[in-house]
């Protein structure tokens, strides 16, 4: 939490030496509090004061990084409770479990299934970010061996899940250079796990059943020298877990309660794939920085990853689709051509209704900087010139033999100028694109 001017003043030398350029230390403190001065301007400030001031300036939720290279995963550093207040910063990392009881072909199969959980949406790659290797065998040797095998065959970040310090130590020895997340320390293993994490420079998960225990554990781990901590609240019920995560988020952001100022990890557990999917979405929306699922079904992971992508999108920046010609169905030289804007919501609605019409068509997407039809028109981003330019740029003339262009009903007013600018015959489409199927089936024919 930011310190007040008076709190800062107490940490200053109070000699009024004026070397900072201010008449008094109090005046300098006030400027510091308002971030108009820098602490370095004071030549006499103590190391202790520097530390305290730096700590106060640290973000309320720490940023934690694990994995290496281009598969590095970043979680934490969230600043708000609701996305509309600013935005969520670190999309929830989805991880898939791999048991260390698997060997040979079974292990390869499981890894291949997990590795296939990568999808493309709106030109963006979304996919699972980590493999959580679980020490179900209870054997340190098997755990280390499986971790090494996973590391060899898969670039994704690793989460090492074991309650046995000796198993963890053995696995870390095999994987330390790719900075796995160690899951983790419990009250009874805190010392051993903290030492392993500290020596290897890996972040460590604190695992406890209640907020009180979690606070105690995270303080203990920090005191043992581990700065990078992830919190795992293992509440007895789903309700306890979700309410607990929300309380942790409020405490870390609104109260700047440092022992809980870390990102969170949640295990979704077993149960039906559909149950895992529903719970994982809930956890991702409500403040779990990492969710670990047992199910590697694509039909569960795709909607989960899509939900994460949507909820973590920047509300200030409209999602855009690439401006180009989209072929819906298998259009030919006689198929209808229409245009819309590159605001994703606008485009998707049009696309969906054109698909429903079952009339193969071309949709030309005009770059309107992510605004809808009416907004773009009012802002002069959608006019006869931008449409004509887009038609030329994307070679619309070569796609069809006819010269008829369907335009959104809302911009019927631009018909005349557009005909002049393009020499195409303009057909005014419906205002609401839910009427497109009927329009394409009946009017276009």
């Amino acid at each position: 939490m930011a310190l007040t001017g008076l709190e800062i003043f107490k940490l200053l030398p109070k000699g009024n030496c004026k070397k900072c350029g201010m008449p008094t230390c109090l005046a300098f403190a006030m400027q510091l509090a308002q971030k108009r001065a820098k602490l370095e301007d004071c030549p006499l400030v103590s190391e202790e004061a520097k530390e305290k001031l730096a700590a106060a300036a640290a973000p309320p939720m720490r940023r934690i990084v694990f994995g290496s290279g281009e598969h590095q995963v970043q979680v934490g550093q969230e600043t708000v409770l609701f996305r509309h207040e600013e935005k969520f910063h670190s999309p929830t990392a989805v991880a898939t479990t791999v048991s260390d009881t698997l060997t040979g072909e079974a292990l390869t199969d499981r890894l291949n299934t997990a590795k296939a959980l990568q999808f493309e949406r709106v030109g963006t790659q979304i996919g699972i970010k980590a493999i959580a290797v679980c020490n179900e065998s209870g054997s340190a040797e098997a755990f280390a061996k499986t971790c090494a095998a996973v590391k060899e065959s898969c670039d994704l970040a690793l989460i090492l899940v074991s309650d046995l310090p000796e198993a963890m130590a053995a696995a870390v020895k095999q994987t330390a250079q790719c900075v796995p997340l160690l899951a983790g320390a419990r009250t009874n293993t805190a010392d051993g796990m903290a030492k392993i994490a500290k020596d290897a420079g890996c972040p460590l998960v604190a695992r406890a059943g209640s907020l009180e225990e979690l606070v105690e554990l995270s303080e203990k781990i920090k005191a043992a020298g581990v700065e990078d901590i992830v919190l795992n609240l293992e509440a007895p019920t789903l309700s306890d877990q979700l309410y607990g995560l929300s309380r942790m988020r409020v405490l870390s952001l609104k109260k700047v309660f440092r022992p809980l100022g870390y990102p969170t990890l949640s295990f979704v557990g077993d149960g039906e794939a559909t149950r895992q999917g529903a719970i994982a979405i809930s956890l991702a929306c409500k403040y779990s920085g990492i969710v670990v699922l047992d199910t590697a079904e694509p039909w569960v992971n795709l909607p989960l990853l899509t939900a994460v992508m949507n909820v973590f999108s920047d509300p200030q920046k409209p999602v855009q689709v690439e401006p180009k010609v989209y072929a819906i169905g298998e259009p030919d030289e006689n198929s209808p051509v229409m245009f819309t804007t590159n605001f994703s919501l606008t485009y998707y609605t049009v696309e969906s209704d054109v698909e429903n019409s079952r009339v193969p068509s071309y949709i030309l997407v005009v770059d309107t900087e992510g605004t809808s039809v009416l907004t773009a028109y009012s802002g002069d981003k959608l006019n006869e010139k931008t449409v004509a330019q887009a038609m030329t740029k994307h070679g619309v003339e070569d796609l069809v033999k006819h010269r008829k262009l369907i335009i959104p009903g809302y911009v019927a007013v631009m018909s005349g100028k557009l005909e002049e600018a393009t020499n195409w015959e303009v057909m005014v489409g419906p205002r609401e694109c839910s009427m497109l199927p009927k329009y394409l089936q009946e009017v276009w024919k």
Binding site: A273, T274, P298, S434
Partner: protein, 323 residues
């Protein structure tokens, strides 16, 4: 270190509203549904602050759906020509809390059915099931203004949830819903200012605020759900802040929106898993996502999706160790 206290400082709450009337209140419903009442944001404070548990209204169409993908129509194929049987299946087999009778067939561009048809369907469904009904127009203003007042009359005294009314078309349905003692759905196009405006217009006609449910429009998962998500969160925060014009329970249309999505219905999609699992999961995921933002009534379609969401709600609402 002791954990600091967190005070929310919310002064308002979401309105509580009861749907359906039994014989003691002049209706014929065998079960009633209460929604709303939340005094905090989703998972804020304690489970006791969350108000009533969210409910599922399963869609029943007045005519056989013309454009539903096979995976969705399959479970209803046997009953799709008979709304009464369809409604029965939703309640008896799927455990729907409400039945949402959607008058698609009334739309002039679809089956263009008349008011007489709509009244017949309404009466048949009222006879077939005991849960409260949601009565939802076709979306064509002129036609709905002809048909929905008659539908309202046919269900008079049953305390249905009827809609929708919009900024441009609210007068006739508001007046008749008021007279027939129904609850009303006010609709806005993902615009929180218009949402409030419709509520003001309707209440200016004397319609009680505590009988309104808001419909902010819904975006499907992957297709604009984030807009609906943030609007629902802002609506909840407005309610908690004491804004009476935004304190209504919220309904969302997950069934229609999610089954428009390519991911739900595309058959040939290598690497996405089979449609018979993927479609229902897409619908369930859309519903669960919106539940995190704070909605009270979810319109849904596929039995498997309903089962997933019901199980989630049950686990969440039955399972606090503090309760």
């Amino acid at each position: 270190m002791p954990i600091p206290e967190v005070a929310d400082g919310f002064t308002g709450s979401v309105t509580r509203l009861a749907l359906g009337t039994g014989p003691d209140e002049g209706g014929t419903r065998t079960s009633t549904v209460v929604v709303g009442g939340s005094q905090n944001v989703v998972y804020g404070g304690a489970p006791a602050d969350a108000g009533e548990r969210p409910v599922i209204a399963m869609d029943v169409l007045d005519v056989r759906p013309a454009d539903w993908p096979d995976v969705l129509l399959g479970p209803f194929d046997r009953v799709a020509d008979d709304p009464a049987d369809w409604a029965k299946m939703c309640v008896e087999d799927c455990g729907a809390d409400l039945v949402c009778l959607k008058f698609d067939g009334v739309h002039p561009d679809k089956a263009d059915k008349d008011a007489e048809h709509a009244v017949r369907v309404t009466e048949a469904v009222l006879n077939a099931v005991g849960v409260p009904l949601v009565l939802w127009g076709s979306g064509n203003d002129d036609k709905d203004n002809q048909v929905m007042p008659k539908v309202s009359g046919a269900a008079k005294g049953e305390r249905c949830l009827i809609g929708t009314v919009t900024e441009d078309n609210y007068k006739s349905l508001t007046a008749i819903a008021l007279a027939d003692d129904h609850c009303l759905i006010t609709e806005a196009p993902l615009d929180i200012n218009i949402a409030k405006q419709v509520n003001i217009l309707v209440s200016d006609m004397g319609f009680p605020l505590e009988r309104i449910v808001t419909f902010q429009s819904t975006g499907g998962l992957g297709y604009g759900i984030e807009y609906a998500y943030s609007i629902q969160e802002r609506q909840r925060l407005a309610a908690l802040g004491g804004d009476k014009m935004m304190a209504m329970p919220a309904i969302c249309d997950v069934g229609y929106e999610s089954w428009r999505c390519k991911e739900a219905k595309l058959d040939e999609a290598p690497g996405w898993g089979p449609t018979e699992n993927r479609g229902p999961m897409w619908e369930a995921a859309t519903a669960v996502c919106l539940l995190q933002a704070g909605v009270d009534i979810i319109r849904m379609r596929h039995p498997k999706a309903v089962a997933t969401v019901k199980a989630f709600i049950d686990e969440l609402w039955n399972g606090s160790s503090e309760a």
